[in-house]
Symmetry: C2
Subunit: 570 residues, 2 copies
């Protein structure tokens, strides 16, 4: 089994040629120096680090896994050294502000770094993956005193961080969180409660761990408005250890390189982050970035699976293919069989389009934060708000299902651990669940972000990005489908779903199909952008584009038919 | 985690009410005594044995797994005792002929037994699952002398058996097999070669193991016509051990309770089974039965996953559901959430329809073997030939994807081993590969069984089974879809795909979508049969039938669109 090798040429093509990232970014004063040469150099260095240091640890990460003993967690061989090299080289702080010890580079570079890391070693990547939300959280909500103590350590990644949200009885609905925070005389709070599914709650990668904990102050109202956010470190500055214990780690289907911890807080002193009762707000500001990162995990894992299957299909022979070139008594290469070609081209179509959508989201996050023009920021805000749940849901779904399709290319060998493809199937499954299940993403898109404004933002987004397309045949085709969906929304879905007499559950029945239909439109748009860039297509992109329209796109009409059936049934 | 409990009432409803199995079977003299009372008694006893003896071993089967040491394989705890109890109770020989030591009961009962066994413990079930093909093979092809030695031992299951086909360079294409069989002076043959992916090649369940081995005689022609079949036991009658060694077992994604062996034959003496050069024929006679059994594994595993998810959804609460009944500050049951309801109903629709299709296939196998009327046998032959690849492919595909959907019902807990749902996802994946990959099933259906006769057999089958439907609304709807597909075949697909100038690879591009379209038609037909039986539907069947039409059936039009696109592209 070969370790993952990033193919930065494919990634660069999307970022620099299709999305013209440097031109977009250099319009922002803060990124005036982010020219193509600088950015490409960062991508190449990241690719090298990922290939040489992180990817080789992936298999032992799965087979040995994180080990729990008496409250301590030992990470798999090499994980600590790799992490120490990672933060000391400055990778965690790539996109952090210079004043916090970071390098102030665009989010798009961080996105590409994390896509490659996830592809190479999903388990290892979980640890630094949680840093960025914690950094934003502390930066924007902590008191100056707390920032002085923790911000730089978290920005640079010298200390890792966790997000302690879920409790045994409170998964998707955080409003039911029961962990208590009782004020102490010194201005701190004593936290007590049990949190589950805490990635990286305990480990030996760093000398300290910073926990961000959702908890409830005494006499706070029930539900989400009674939640506040607290910071509890593993070790205080005097070297004493906090009363936070990792009770056990879960035995999981995959992702064995990342300890999923049950954490018990026994009156552990910590500080409040932000205002009382604003705990969820403090966490939700970073939700788009976190969901973008999970979407990137999906793209990375699918790319890792595809690369394995592609390599195998070019090297192994099996049966005679129609029009194959094998001599009598020999077999053809697996890639020559239509059923296998279809699998490879369809997954590739998802990867390439996924990059267009994900890197664009990263660019829009930078634009949203830094652009001088309010109209442009508004487009960025619409994009991030509407596209992020689609990216998270559709591409993590595809990571699992597409990795399974890639496994099929190996035949019986795919089921054997040796080839490493089954690990990707196992590891990828969790991304459909965490950071908001894929069903919650669909509810977010339709019920929270589309129906309340009568579809205005979504229709405007489609108009905006449809307007980016030219007049080539593919662009015309895509614009026609945008128009079709727009009519369907205006004339059928929106009037019915927002009618006063609409059944309370109607929108819930629509949500999954609605998100998938939007995902298909975004992919079609992405392929139109790629097509306009390559102009007449190089063979590599041409085959994949054909694969998209033949094997992926037909889902769009199926989703419209399902939406129709649900509207009819209501 | 609770062990699997068969729900024989649901199974009985399909076999006895929908398919009217006793009336069908009692028309066959050999099954004149197979009345409903006798058959139901067998089903209940089987269900009891499965629940009490086999299901409780499933988790340790996965976690401890089969262990290899110096050529020997130790099965997981309890596996040997359970197997000894299984064969001594007469379960392996349920459908074997009385003169071979069996009970001569219908194949449909064996089908239900294996569906339950697979649901309860897929790994354990692999061992006896291979017996039936070996029995048929020896019964129909071995010499009287060889039968006298081995037939009863294999029929009763006192000894287990293997099928040694695959070699490192020959997976789906057995024509490339290289294992050699050299004649010995005593009429036997010395077998030499390496076979891979041999399920149950070595174990401690039984005192002897009977290997059926595909090999090549000296000077035999290249390709499949040069292959003959041989029988090599682990132990000869004098107690000496044959030169067959289990070199290692594979580390796999799942199915840890079944050792997947690399077997090396070093001039191991064995007997020829059937005529020289007819080895593949001898194995292919039992292919329909073997593929039916894999389809039943799919149905059983999906049912096991569904039962877990259903139970969890009725017991756990999460968030507020639209129109839910939870009090303020509490959460609703998971089953009340539309996105989860949809998953459960769609999977249930696959299970119920799958049983109609699979049990009917078992009945048709009995009819094919025993019916007095040639016209009826011809319908049976058409059914088995055309439906079996669809059943194998579509329902093993659904076992994996549907089990993953059921995992989603558990949220984060689904990814944790404790609940047992992730094991089903892992175990089920292999059924998409073995016994002919699902892509090979599609090629079998379209290229071998539909195009050569210009679609005559398939069109006749659709006419025959469409004719079984009545005049209720659902039946009319299904017949209209049969008519639509028939026109599509006659007017579009067949003329183009069988045209002299059709590209050599055209049919290969069509095959997967073609099989899925036929699967949808069979499901629609099955639901019409269920609907006609329940008459106005009990709520349980009504909800599932609605689930079928809303969440499953729309794939049919997508497949037609994909077929159209491929025909256009050619």
């Amino acid at each position: 089994m070969n370790a993952f090798q990033p193919r930065t040429d494919d990634m660069n093509f999307i970022l620099f040629e299709v999305l013209q990232a440097p031109a977009q970014l250099q319009a922002l004063p803060v990124h005036a120096e982010a020219d193509a040469a600088l950015m490409q150099q960062v991508v190449e260095e990241a690719g090298k680090f990922v290939a040489e240091v992180i990817a080789p640890l992936n298999r032992e990460g799965d087979e040995i896994g994180a080990q729990w003993k008496a409250g301590a967690v030992t990470m798999p061989p090499g994980f600590r050294d790799a992490y120490q090299a990672f933060w000391q080289a400055g990778w965690p702080s790539l996109a952090c502000a210079a004043e916090d010890g970071g390098q102030g580079l665009p989010a798009a570079l961080e996105a590409m770094l994390y896509e490659m890391l996830s592809a190479a070693n999903h388990g290892w990547t979980m640890a630094p993956g949680l840093l960025h939300g914690a950094y934003e959280c502390i930066k924007h909500h902590a008191s100056p005193e707390l920032k002085a103590r923790y911000l730089e350590k978290v920005a640079t990644g010298e200390w890792l961080a966790t997000m302690c949200l879920t409790e045994p009885h409170a998964g998707s609905d955080l409003g039911l969180v029961r962990t208590k925070a009782v004020p102490l005389a010194d201005g701190r709070y004593a936290l007590s409660g049990t949190k589950i599914f805490i990635s990286g709650g305990e480990h030996d990668l760093t000398d300290n761990i910073v926990h961000l904990v959702l908890a409830r102050l005494p006499d706070s109202p029930p539900g989400p408005k009674g939640l506040s956010l607290f910071l509890v470190p593993k070790f205080y500055e005097d070297g004493s250890r906090s009363a936070v214990v990792c009770e056990r780690i879960e035995e999981k289907m995959g992702l064995h390189g990342s300890p999923t911890c049950v954490m018990r807080f026994d009156e552990a002193p910590g500080w409040i982050v932000g205002e009382p009762g604003k705990g969820l707000n403090a966490m939700f500001v970073m939700m788009n970035a976190a969901r973008l990162h999970v979407g990137l995990q999906g793209i990375g894992l699918l790319d890792a699976a595809w690369q394995k299957a592609d390599a195998y299909s070019k090297e192994r022979r099996q049966m005679r293919a129609p029009g194959g070139s094998a001599k009598a008594g020999e077999a053809d290469l697996i890639e020559q069989h239509p059923a296998m070609r279809r699998i490879l081209d369809a997954q590739r179509a998802w990867i390439d389009a996924g990059r267009v959508v994900a890197y664009r989201t990263a660019l829009e996050l930078d634009i949203l934060k830094n652009h001088g023009d309010a109209t442009r920021r508004e487009l960025a805000s619409r994009w991030c708000s509407l596209v992020t749940p689609v990216l998270k849901s559709a591409w993590t779904d595809q990571a699992f299902h597409g990795a399974s399709a890639c496994l099929q290319v190996f035949g019986g060998h795919g089921f054997v651990r040796e080839w490493g493809i089954e690990q990707i199937v196992r590891d990828s499954r969790v991304a459909m669940i965490y950071e908001g299940t894929n069903e919650i993403q669909a509810i977010d898109l339709l019920l929270r972000k589309t129906l309340p404004d009568g579809g205005a933002a979504l229709l405007q987004l489609l108009a905006d990005i449809g307007g980016e397309l030219g007049d080539d045949a593919q662009a015309v085709r895509v614009k026609a489908q945008f128009a079709r969906f727009t009519s369907f929304l205006r004339e059928r879905l929106l009037p019915r779903a927002t009618a006063k007499d609409a059944p309370a559950d109607l929108a819930h029945w629509l949500a999954d199909d609605f998100l998938r239909a939007v995902a298909m439109l975004l992919m079609a748009w992405a392929w139109a952008r790629i097509g306009a860039t390559t102009g007449g297509y190089a063979p590599r992109w041409q085959a994949t584009q054909t694969g998209f329209w033949r094997w992926v796109w037909p889902e769009f009409d199926m989703r419209l038919a399902m939406l129709d059936a649900s509207l009819d049934a209501a």
